[in-house]
Amino acid sequence: MSNAFKVGQRVLVKDGDPPGHIRTPFFLRGKSGVVETVHGEFRNPEELAYGKEGLPKKPLYLVRFLQVEVWADYRGAPGDTVSADIYEHWLDAE
């Protein structure tokens, strides 16, 4: 598998708002996180959603973010985290 990022690596979620069916949550766009798990490669749901084949497959990662870096007004513990599955084409190396 040709995943560009490794577990523990810092990544930056792309910002922006392309039209269509998007799996990257809006609240994580533009945020910086750490790769927690490399899930493998899967067909691209952004294309499957419109009846296409979604190939070639895209690497999918579980990425962990610090809540205090996601929400400006976060009032929980400073070490609290939130994780989400994000496809490689939504990530840049940081």
Binding site: D15, G16, D17, G20, H21, P25, F26, F27, L28, P45, L48, A49, Y50, G51, G54, V70, W71
Partner: protein
């Protein structure tokens, strides 16, 4: 770039504490579940298409429909989109069933 998330992209909105009670599924819910499973297993459409169809509902419907009402609305959208049935055929069948239904 849009400054606001789509109305279906709810992460971070304040809906209060999570309701952790078990949901009770009605017979109607089970039927909708069965129809979707048949469509997926028969490869009539994919789960990603179902989600995309749900996101195409109006904000009002999205926020007021139950979980399975959203599924059924998406099933109808996709059945018409893929020309398995037309809107007219669905409406004609619904009229027929309404006439048969006990008052």
């Amino acid at each position: 770039m849009r400054l606001m998330p789509g109305f279906h992209d709810l992460g971070g909105k304040d809906f209060g504490p999570v309701n952790q009670r078990d949901h009770v599924r009605s017979e109607w819910d089970n039927r909708v579940d069965a129809v979707l499973r048949l469509m997926l297993e028969g490869r009539r459409f994919r789960i990603d298409e179902v989600r995309r169809a749900i996101e195409s509902l109006t904000e009002r419907d999205y926020m007021s429909f139950s979980y399975y009402q959203k599924w059924l609305a998406a099933i109808r959208i996709l059945i018409v989109e893929k020309e398995l049935l037309s809107e007219d055929e669905i409406d004609a069948r619904l009229d027929q069933l309404r006439q048969k239904a006990p008052v």
